[in-house]
């Protein structure tokens, strides 16, 4: 039974999780030239969940959306190859703050009449962990953040959330926003024929102006620096030496 007609899944293009990025020597930003880029891992999990919901017949379509430059269509195409039905790029070359991203997603929710947005709990570059919560606030709808299990019954979603104290179960009425944690699912691998098929799926481009979103900047970046390095340590050769070293440090 269909629960919602359209699920929106935002995809952020980020530096691949396996790349170790560094601050540029002049502190002007991160050294990202030629670095491998991927879909934010949490967003891949969000898309996988949306596809499974569609496979259970609980939604009609899954739409992936990105707010970024033309190259972000690489990640949108990857999302289409994974199985999304269509894609929307909101084209901008500005560094957007999470509130602006949330406002843009709100405009897309209205435009697409979506009743469920599933997105990553955090982007592994910005590490803000804000966008989903902000979207839910602007929308005036529930949020189920850090979700590791999700099921629907009628117009109610039951979510299990990974919280500091363990696993919390909440119920939310739809429409709603869900943010994903790592253990929600394991994303599928894309097969070659799907990559070819994805090229024919619709990809629409919009602008922030068309969506009436003002990309205001509130926080001024004054500098970026590498983290302080820990002084290098010692190797000990056996447990007795380890105990001695721990005593010397005064920690046991």
């Amino acid at each position: 039974m269909t629960v919602v007609d359209t699920i929106l899944v935002p995809l952020k293009r980020v530096v691949d999780a396996n790349v170790r990025v560094r601050v540029k020597p002049d502190g002007s930003g991160m050294a990202l030239d030629g670095v491998k880029m991927s879909i934010n891992p949490f967003d891949e999990i969000a898309l996988e969940e949306a596809l499974r919901i569609r496979e259970r017949g609980e939604t009609g379509e899954v739409v992936v959306v990105s707010i970024g430059t033309q190259v972000w269509t690489q990640q949108l195409r990857a999302g289409l190859a994974m199985g999304a039905d269509r894609a929307i790029l909101v084209e901008t070359d500005q560094e957007l703050e999470p509130l602006t991203v949330a406002r843009t997603l709100m405009a897309l929710v209205e435009r697409e009449h979506s009743e469920l947005v599933i997105l990553g709990k955090q982007a592994i570059d910005g590490d803000n962990n804000q966008t989903g919560q902000m979207l839910a606030a602007i929308w005036g709808r529930p949020q189920a953040c850090f979700t590791s299990h999700l099921r629907f019954s009628d117009r109610v979603a039951t979510a299990m959330r990974e919280v500091d104290a363990g696993l919390e179960v909440i119920e939310v009425d739809l429409p709603a926003v869900v943010t994903t944690d790592l253990r929600l699912n394991e994303p599928r691998y894309t097969k070659l024929p799907d990559i070819l098929k994805a090229k024919k799926k619709p990809l629409q481009t919009l602008s922030l102006a068309e969506l009436n979103v003002d990309p205001e900047v509130q926080f001024r970046v004054l500098g970026i620096e590498p983290p302080p390095q820990r002084p290098s340590g010692v190797k000990v050769s056996d447990v007795a030496e380890l105990v001695q070293a721990l005593r010397q440090k005064g920690v046991v």
Binding site: V15, R20, V21, R22, M30, P98, L99, K121, Q122, I124, D125, D127, N128, N129, Q130, Q133, M134, L135, A136, A137, R141, P142, Q143, C145, F146, S148, R161, E162, V163, D164, A165, G166, L167, V169, I170, E171, V172, D181, L182, R183, Q218, F219, L222, G223, P226, P227, R230, S232, G233, V234, K235, V236, S237, D238, V239, L242, V243, K249, V251, V252
Partner: protein, 321 residues
């Protein structure tokens, strides 16, 4: 002059230590007020603990049946209403605060700052991003409230020698019913210290091999009176509960002693332990990246070394030295 409102984290009975860290962060830029808001069904006990925090200037109790369990969608509009007259609204960068504070910010129509690790002034902050591979200095505008989460690992808890006045407030805002708490499932702990606040932590990784073997980690933790932690790989494999994950997407901790066993030291793990006092790595692979940040490294098979270490430390505890 800055006036800070801090949202207390608690479980209905006890104030979470993260709140005392938010107070320390706020106190570092000497605002004229540091008030702590306690949302609960009956906040008496928690409010009393909050009032004792050194540096707090007041505690505001908001008692309401809807505040029985913390739900961001229910708390956020109350905080938004309460925030009038404050220049700053802070919460901890725990799952409680991360869930809640962006919602508060968006209701107020402002951005949010995540994970403050240092306040250079009331409007200038440092925060980590890229899994802690870089530190950003940002300035917030003075004409809007600063809504932020405080990276708890960066601050010492405020002492509890204070005595702030407690007041009661009733909130006018209508509260949503679209979000409902069902239950909390918590299986870990076993009487051990809390991972987030423990002064000693022993963590196990994929190298431990199975959930039965994880007892080796637990025994060492018990010999030290330490909390137990885990890498993501260990949690994914079911050796340990999700609430024990340390790292970029788990808990960021700062114990005096951190012992990592059978953990390779991926960047996402290291970002969770950067502020630990002494880091010890036990790994059979001398090339494991964890050795690059460890203060003390032991290249050894964990199945031999860890029981031996537990034995040696347990003996020390028994002989009272």
């Amino acid at each position: 002059m800055a006036r800070v409102l801090i949202v207390a984290e608690h479980d209905g009975r006890a104030l979470n230590a993260s709140t005392a860290k938010c107070v320390s962060c706020a106190a570092s830029f000497a605002p004229s007020a540091i008030d702590i808001a306690v949302f609960a069904s009956d906040g008496g006990a928690v409010a009393a603990q909050a009032a004792a925090l050194e540096g707090a200037t007041g505690v505001i109790r908001v008692d309401h049946p809807a505040n029985e369990n913390a739900l961001a969608a229910v708390a956020a509009p109350q905080i938004a209403e309460l925030s009038a007259g404050y220049t700053h609204v802070f919460g901890p960068s725990t799952t409680f605060g991360k869930d809640l504070m962006p919602r508060v910010a968006a209701l107020l129509g402002v951005g949010q700052l995540s994970d403050i690790m240092n306040a250079e002034s009331a409007w200038r902050f440092k925060r980590p991003f890229y899994a802690g591979n870089a530190i950003l200095t940002v300035e917030a505008p003075e004409d809007r409230p600063v809504v932020a989460t405080v990276r708890t690992a960066s601050y010492q808890a405020a002492e509890d020698s204070g005595n702030a006045p407690i007041s009661q407030r009733t909130i006018e805002t209508e509260l949503p019913t679209h979000t409902r708490y069902v239950e909390l499932r918590s299986d870990s702990g076993g009487g051990r210290p809390d991972l987030q606040t423990a002064s000693r932590v022993v963590s196990g990784g994929r190298g431990v091999g199975s959930s039965e073997n994880f007892q080796i980690i637990e025994r060492l933790a018990d010999a030290l009176g330490a909390a137990v932690g885990a890498s993501r790989a260990a949690v994914d494999a079911g050796y340990a509960g999700n609430d024990l994950q340390v790292g970029q997407t788990g808990k960021i901790i700062a114990p005096d002693l951190y012992i990592a066993v059978g953990i390779s030291g991926a960047i996402q793990h290291l970002t969770g332990i950067k502020d630990a006092g002494v880091i010890v790595a036990i790994n059979k692979d001398s090339e494991a990246p964890l050795f690059e940040v460890a203060d003390i490294g032991l290249v050894a098979d964990l199945f031999a070394a860890v029981p031996e270490l537990a034995e040696a430390l347990g003996e020390q505890a028994r002989s009272g030295s």
